[in-house]
């Protein structure tokens, strides 16, 4: 096992509810996005990684070590939980400082490091306000500040952009990128796919407690290309066009979702795009537009999870 995170056949039950179901994946250095819908098992995986849950089955390694109740490995990670865990009576500065002191940082250094971290996430002006007065985006940034203020090797961020306003998103993503550029590893979860695409191509797709795909987004696209690929054609003559396209041997299905549209599924998208112009020219059918619902990561995900 050589990755930053190595999971092999991890299962976790909550009573009769299955949180993770034989989850296997390897996360390399840099930024990795864990993408899945709510309830997919993302938070469970993160709790396992920070050693607060114990897997019922399987092997898990974080930075080469078993994270369960592993105090030394906790020194090397920064964790930003999804849910609101701020003590509202503490100011932003006190909140970050208190958690830094839990790392064993001397008071004077903690004060300075907290100031730096709050500045990094754009919260300097609100540092002396109680966190109960913060907006949700500000709380997210305060939580990110405490996660990275002690200079960890790996950041584990559970939905770090949840509820953040546009400026906060820019600051959070910028901070994450800078952290990775400085040699840190980041594992961040989201159910909003385009957010991941802005900072990394490395993703792990998770659903129902299982890793359904992992690797570079382009590899996942290649995986998709082995499966039916959807193309939507805007045409006033969908039936005639469907008849013409049916001659292609790689067409899986043809569907007329609307009066002037044709949805084609093909196993060979490259061949389809190459052959389509000739067919349209030969049959003299009008095609006004063409789009692939598969073009976004969102579509990749929808396809893979069915």
């Amino acid at each position: 096992m050589t990755g930053v995170v190595e999971a092999a056949g991890i299962s976790k039950w909550y009573g009769e509810v299955l949180g993770l179901n034989g989850f296997s994946a390897s996360f390399g250095p840099g930024i990795t996005g864990l993408v899945g819908p709510n309830g997919a098992g993302k938070s469970t995986l993160f709790k396992l990684l920070i050693g607060q849950l114990h897997p019922d089955q399987g092997t898990l390694r974080l930075l080469g070590e078993n994270p369960w109740n592993n105090v030394p490995v906790k020194r090397r990670l920064g964790y930003c939980p999804e849910h609101n865990t701020l003590y509202g009576w503490l100011t932003g500065q006190q909140f970050v400082e208190a958690l830094l002191r839990l790392d064993g940082m001397p008071r004077s250094q903690a004060e300075k490091a907290a100031e730096d971290a709050l500045k990094l996430v754009g919260l300097s002006s609100a540092a002396q306000r109680p966190t109960r007065t913060y907006s949700r985006g500000m709380r997210q940034r305060a939580k990110l500040a405490q996660a990275l203020a002690h200079r960890p090797e790996i950041l584990i961020l559970d939905e770090p952009l949840s509820g953040a306003d546009p400026l906060a998103r820019v600051q959070i993503l910028r901070t994450i990128s800078e952290f990775a550029k400085a040699g840190g590893h980041v594992l961040m979860s989201t159910h909003v796919l385009y957010e991941i695409e802005r900072v990394t191509n490395n993703i792990v797709l998770i659903n129902n407690g299982k890793a359904i795909a992992s690797g570079d987004i382009r590899s996942i696209r290649a995986l998709i290309d082995e499966h039916p690929h959807a193309v939507r054609l805007e045409t006033p003559q969908p039936r005639q066009l469907a008849q013409a396209l049916a001659r292609m041997d790689h067409i899986v299905s043809l569907e007329i979702p609307e009066d002037e549209a044709l949805l084609v599924r093909t196993r060979k998208p490259d061949a389809f795009y190459r052959e389509l112009p000739a067919i349209v020219a030969d049959t003299r059918l009008e095609v006004r537009g063409l789009e692939s619902p598969d073009d976004s990561l969102d579509a990749v995900f929808r396809y893979l999870v069915g």
Binding site: T44, K47, Q52, N69, V71, E82, T85, W89, G104
Partner: protein, 279 residues
């Protein structure tokens, strides 16, 4: 418009040991408790009432305690002050019941345990927050009373110093029991109100029935062993040399110590295996 943001750089820094990390939890906890009006009220009224009643007993011993010899056994009277039981229970409920339950509910425990601390560190810090607060009612007034009595000339310094030492020991025993029991209850639930109800049940749910069953017509003093307060009274009575104990102080001491140890161990095991689950 361009946005200029600071950049992240990594640097190594020396870290302090476990003691400092535990102290950080205590500081955060105390900072919170001393901002809560309910805590300040309980501390103010609890410490005030127990001290005033104890000193009034000293000042007017001749009136209130006719026939009570002015020796070491006199100090069983302030030690058996019912206000101690009431305010210790109140303090344990107001402060202690929330110490772990709130962290479980708010998921703050997730943040704590994502740091390089152990469950033992966490519990030690929580105990260090609660125990001094309980001892302000269970120890401080008991220690102050012989001191005031000696300063007023009502007792010799020899007796007063002995009483101070014994008061400290039995007050600490009572503090340790309530600290361990309250943290155990707090660790079992995410709702501090449930833990607070448990503390009241532990005190009054055991003491009142035990006292009823121990008296006529039931006359079964053995049930007093079920009450922490009655066990404490039996130990205090023996320590100060007071007479009239309905139960054996040795068993009472053993029960209090064992209950404290079991509660502490159960809390530790609970925290060791607690699985912090979010939605």
């Amino acid at each position: 418009m361009s946005i200029s943001l600071p950049t992240y750089t990594r640097r190594e820094m020396p870290l302090l040991g476990r003691r400092h990390r535990v102290r950080a939890i205590i500081t955060t906890g105390l900072r919170r408790e001393f901002k809560r009006p309910a805590v300040l009220v309980v501390i103010g009224i609890g410490v005030g009432v127990t001290i005033i009643t104890s000193i009034v007993v000293v000042l007017f011993a001749g009136v209130f305690l006719q026939g009570q010899p002015l020796d070491l056994s006199f100090f069983f009277t302030p030690a058996s002050n019912g206000a101690i039981l009431f305010f210790v229970t109140l303090m344990a409920s107001v402060v202690g019941s929330a110490l772990i339950a709130d962290d479980l509910q708010s998921m703050a425990l997730t943040l704590y345990l994502s740091r390089p601390i152990t469950e033992g560190d966490y519990l030690a810090a929580k105990a260090a927050i609660l125990a001094p607060m309980i001892s302000m009612i269970a120890v401080f007034p008991l220690v102050l009373t012989p001191l005031v009595a000696a300063l007023l000339g009502s007792f010799s310094w020899t007796i007063a110093l002995e009483a101070i030492g014994l008061s400290f020991l039995i007050g600490s025993l009572f503090t340790a029991f309530y600290t361990a029991a309250t943290l155990a209850l707090s660790s079992l639930t995410r709702r501090k109100s449930y833990a607070a109800a448990g503390v009241f049940a532990l005190t009054f749910g055991l003491t009142i029935p035990a006292e009823i069953l121990a008296g006529p017509p039931f006359n079964n003093p053995a049930v007093l062993y079920a009450s922490p307060w009655e066990n404490y009274l039996a130990v205090a009575r023996a320590a100060f040399g007071a007479t009239g104990a309905p139960i054996d102080w040795r068993w009472s001491l053993a029960i209090l110590l064992a209950a404290t140890a079991i509660a502490a161990l159960a809390t530790y095991l609970r925290m060791k295996f607690v699985e912090v689950v979010s939605g």
